[in-house]
């Protein structure tokens, strides 16, 4: 409409550079650098030499400088198994979310309009309760002396050991991210007209064939965005694993937290792990994008 209108994006572009691009570059910078001690003539010292020099000549004899290094990246290798474990748990959680969410979204989309709104509202409502509290409430349910074991105890079943297991972590992921699977699925299901299904049936397709040849292909974009929206937060979660996994099931998110605000302060290593995580996620998203051959831009994906 108006050529000058594009300048309206100016302030945001500036914002984007400062608060989106620069921070990501900083992660790269931190991942490839480290603080190393130097003496006053500019010679690199080892840690032992530095301690020695400080002892003999005082604090001022050693200056710390930032230097390029690949060491952190090598260090991350130790933690790749943690990344793979996180990815594995997140994958299970995503699969279960899809299995639970798919029929849910389909049923939802076939209800009367008023009911659809109510159900949609009821799915969003839990998101208004603080997510830490919801997860904490799961602790109350799953503990050895928790509600579920007490309930089962009434029938002399159990007690089961549910908390502090990988299963509990997966459950926490499913619980917290299930709405992110249902809602995008629901929005594509809405677009599948009943007439399309009827047409398939008229042409002789049984209900299984209708499902595999019509419903699933048409809901592919929803599946793709649902998977992304569950998998990405699940793989990088750090608090669910601590609360429900008891700290023995450390995930990649915990590892990053540990390096920044946790017990093993090392932001450079933390940045390196974040970088690896980011690349891994880009890969995963490229794969899920394959599922969806639709629009080139991502609009409408996020509900």
């Amino acid at each position: 409409m108006n050529k000058n209108a594009k300048w309206a994006a100016g302030p945001y572009l500036l914002w984007m550079v400062v608060f989106v691009i620069v921070p990501l570059i900083l992660i790269g910078v931190f991942a490839f650098t480290t603080e190393a001690p130097f003496d006053l003539e500019g010679n690199r010292l080892t840690d032992e030499e530095a301690t020695l020099l400080i002892e003999t000549e005082g604090e001022d004899a050693v200056v710390n400088k930032t230097v390029f290094t690949l060491n952190h990246l090598f260090e991350v290798s130790e933690y790749l198994p943690v990344l793979l474990k996180s990815a594995w748990l997140a994958l299970i959680a995503t699969a279960i979310c899809l299995i639970i969410g798919y029929p849910m979204a389909y049923f939802m989309s076939r209800f009367r309009k008023e009911w659809q709104r109510v159900i949609q509202m009821l799915i969003m409502l839990p998101m208004w309760m603080n997510f830490l509290l919801r997860t904490y409430a799961w602790m109350t349910l799953l503990e050895k002396n928790g509600w579920i074991n007490r309930f089962l105890g009434l029938f002399n079943i159990g007690p089961f050991n549910m908390i502090n297991t990988q299963g509990a972590v997966v459950l926490g992921m499913i619980y917290n991210y299930l709405p992110f699977m249902i809602l995008p699925l629901y929005s594509v299901m809405l677009k599948i007209e009943n007439t399309t299904i009827e047409a398939a049936q008229d042409l002789g397709a049984g209900s299984i064939r209708v499902f595999t040849k019509v419903v699933i292909p048409l809901s592919m974009p929803g599946i793709a965005s649902g998977i992304t929206m569950v998998f990405v937060p699940a793989v990088s979660t750090f608090i669910i694993s601590r609360m429900l996994g008891g700290g023995t099931n450390m995930l990649i998110g915990d590892l990053i937290d540990l390096q920044f605000l946790g017990n093993a302060y090392n932001p450079n290593l933390g940045a390196a792990i974040s970088l690896v995580l980011m690349v891994f996620i880009i890969l995963c998203m490229s794969i899920t994008n394959q599922l969806d051959n639709g629009d080139e831009e991502m609009e409408g994906k996020m509900i």
């Binding site: 594009k6 914002w15 908390i163 990088s236 920044f260 974040s274 991502m298 409408g300």
Partner: protein, 672 residues
């Protein structure tokens, strides 16, 4: 029949979604403090909620941040959407792809990257950083919602308006804005929702001065969530439910064909209601009484000057008002006495304190690290010398505790409490035949998955070192390796690595054995009479926690006044009674009841204490070794150094391949 099956399925999904919420709501009426025992119906938590300053303050912070961030994001995002819409296609998709990064990236990466940015910009963490961070993840949602509305809009409308004599501004305000309004409102609402619900990004960008509700709840989940929070979330739940019902009823009633617009109206109502909700908790706090504190100090020196100090302490390490008679609220008393505003926040381990200080974004005026950490902070120049003229109450502190190895001249620290580590065990779960007076019991396979362990490196290593007969101050690589190996052997037996969570877990009978601090053991034994405490004969760690002032403190003198206040006999007494540690304060010790003063758990005999060993600050290299060994133990992994580069190359390669193929495929499609 088919419908019945569907309904059951949907009902089951909702049962799953709402089970924990039912737990929250039920527990908000539960008179018992325990989460899983019903102690009768009560409204008490709602009453106490209204008196809890920390929770209400963080609620206000959450809402203020959400509101400001959403308004900024809405304006910024709408302008951006209009701009982007008018760009050439290539530019448009490039910019869109970048702007979606904050929502497509893992939250933790966004959080960490913003934290690094703020640290390098030398911004101090607080409201500003929180709002900036929230805006940066809210804007994409606004763009996402406004852009489609611009697409749907009939381009000729604006031209028509221009033809009819509007200038460009008028056309914009009278035509474009009303057309895209539903998108703007939805974007605003989504921003508020995500901002209120956000934890991860706030966690990395909040400061001591601005804590959102999520952060406050997070610091509670490490110990025990107060039922007051359940009450609060029940209230929020009810309010949101009512808003949604009103919105929906309004929509259904109107039921007109022009649905989007009506929807927007309902949403506007929701936005308004949300704003009102923001104002609810702004309640007044007022208290008054007279002062029992020493008059040699001019407590009023900083009154009415808007002075604010940040105090950073261990969780549950100061007397607070829990709504019972006779409770002493240390912070409120200090604020009342001096007119200085206190931001009180807590940490769970010395290492966490160190990380926060070292990262540079957090300003604290008073911190309370343990001996070895105080030593490390002194060595690294991160705390400053105290002016003892402002802390005359140092004279009450027992000489025995002054001039310890970590601060030999006693220039930097004022001891707050002391204590030692022993084993807490549940008598009903531990075989009476077994010897609990040894660390070996924590390696006993009989108690597999029933053992809790320290979730901090230094304390955990110390136990392994005692077990192996090493010194806890050893910097010897081999000894540290052996200790790490010992801890690795223990890992399969450990139920959970805990710090403050231990109160909840031992108190609730979730585990049989755990090493912890003697003072806390007494607190837990009061909650759960089945618990016992044992002192291992191999030796144990003895510690002093001391108050210091970090180098970056903004109000050193006010901070010293706080430290002096903490050494007032009355205050020291109340605090030590509350936290149940042992006190170095001579006058407070005199005033303690005999059964505490003579209780060997609090004040062990000199003979027992002779087996104790205190932590010293370790050389940097040893600290590094411990940190990396600890990370290894927690993530139990082996190492192949070239794995990451290969992994990265493969990931990038595959991603590139997939995307290039996709682009080519699309091109071919377009050609056809």
């Amino acid at each position: 029949m088919k419908n019945l099956g569907r309904r059951i399925y949907i009902a089951l999904v909702f049962l799953f979604l709402y089970a924990p919420i039912a737990v929250l709501i039920v527990n908000s009426f539960n008179a018992s403090k325990s989460r899983s025992v019903w102690g009768g119906f009560t409204f008490d938590w709602y009453r106490k909620l209204l008196m809890d300053e920390t929770i209400l303050k963080s609620l206000v912070t959450t809402l203020v941040v959400a509101l400001i961030a959403s308004v900024i994001s809405t304006i910024l995002g709408t302008a951006a959407a209009i701009g982007i819409f008018n760009m050439k296609k290539n530019w448009r998709s490039a910019i869109l792809n970048i702007s979606y990064l904050p929502i497509m990236n893992p939250e933790i990466v966004t959080g960490v990257s913003l934290m690094l940015l703020f640290v390098s910009m030398k911004l101090s963490f607080g409201y500003l950083t929180l709002i900036l961070a929230h805006v940066s993840f809210c804007v994409p949602y606004v763009i996402l919602n406004v852009l489609p509305k611009l697409r749907q809009m009939d381009k000729h409308l604006v031209e028509a308006a221009l033809d009819l004599g509007c200038d460009r501004w008028q056309a914009f305000w009278k035509v474009t804005v009303p057309e895209i309004m539903p998108g703007i409102v939805t974007g605003f609402l989504m921003s508020i929702t995500y901002s209120v619900d956000d934890f991860v990004i706030s966690y990395f960008t909040h400061g001591s001065k601005a804590q959102t509700l999520s952060i406050t709840i997070y610091s509670m989940t490490r110990r025990k969530v107060s039922p007051k929070v359940n009450a609060l979330s029940t209230l929020i739940f009810v309010v949101v439910l009512i808003i949604l019902i009103i919105v929906n009823v309004a929509d259904v009633k109107k039921n007109s064909p022009k649905k989007p617009k009506k929807k927007a109206k309902g949403k506007k109502a929701a936005a308004l209601a949300m704003t009102v909700l923001c104002l609810i908790p702004c309640l007044a706090f007022g208290i008054s009484a007279d002062s029992p504190y020493s008059d040699s100090v001019d407590w009023n020196k900083f009154r009415d000057q808007g002075v604010e100090i940040n105090v950073y302490n261990w969780g549950e390490y100061i007397s607070v008002d829990e709504g019972e008679d006779g409770d002493f609220d240390t912070i409120a008393e200090f604020e009342k006495l001096t007119g200085i505003n206190v931001n009180y926040t807590t940490f769970a381990s010395n290492e966490e304190l160190y990380a926060k200080l070292k990262s540079g974004g957090f300003t604290y005026d008073v911190i309370i690290p343990s001996d070895y950490m105080a030593g490390r902070l002194i060595n690294e120049g991160m705390v400053q010398k105290l002016n003892f003229d402002n802390i005359p109450n140092i004279s009450w502190i027992d000489e025995k505790f002054l001039g310890s190895a970590f601060d030999p001249e006693n220039e930097y620290t004022v001891p707050y409490t002391w204590g030692y580590v022993g084993i807490i065990y549940n008598k009903t779960l531990v075989d009476p035949e077994d010897d609990v007076n040894t660390w070996d019991i924590l390696w006993n396979e009989k108690y597999a998955k029933n053992i809790l362990m320290f979730n901090n490196s230094r304390d955990a290593f110390a136990i392994a070192q005692f077990k192996n007969g090493f010194s806890v101050n050893s910097a010897d690589d081999k000894e540290l390796e052996t200790a790490a190996e010992t801890l690795r052997e223990q890992k399969p037996l450990v139920q959970s690595y805990v710090m403050d969570e231990i109160f909840d877990k031992m108190g609730g009978g979730e585990a049989a054995l755990a090493p912890y601090y003697a003072g806390d053991a007494v607190t837990m034994m009061e909650d759960n009479p089945d618990l016992g405490f044992a002192v291992p004969r191999e030796g144990f760690n003895y510690f002093i926690d001391a108050m210091c002032i970090p180098t970056g403190a903004t109000h050193k003198e006010a901070a010293e006044m706080f430290i002096n206040f903490m050494c007032e006999t009355e205050v020291a007494l109340k605090n030590i009674e509350y936290i149940c540690y042992s006190t170095p304060h001579t006058a407070a010790l005199e005033l303690l009841p005999d059964e505490i003063r003579n209780n060997p758990v609090f004040y062990p005999t000199d003979e027992e204490l002779s087996r104790a060993e205190a932590f010293n600050a370790l050389p940097k290299t040893a600290t590094k070794t411990i940190d990396s060994l600890w990370t290894d133990i927690m993530s139990n992994t082996g190492s192949i150094p070239w794995l990451t580069p290969v992994f990265l190359v493969v990931c990038i390669g595959v991603a590139l391949y997939i995307n290039i193929r996709r682009v080519q495929k699309n091109k071919r499609k377009n050609e056809i």
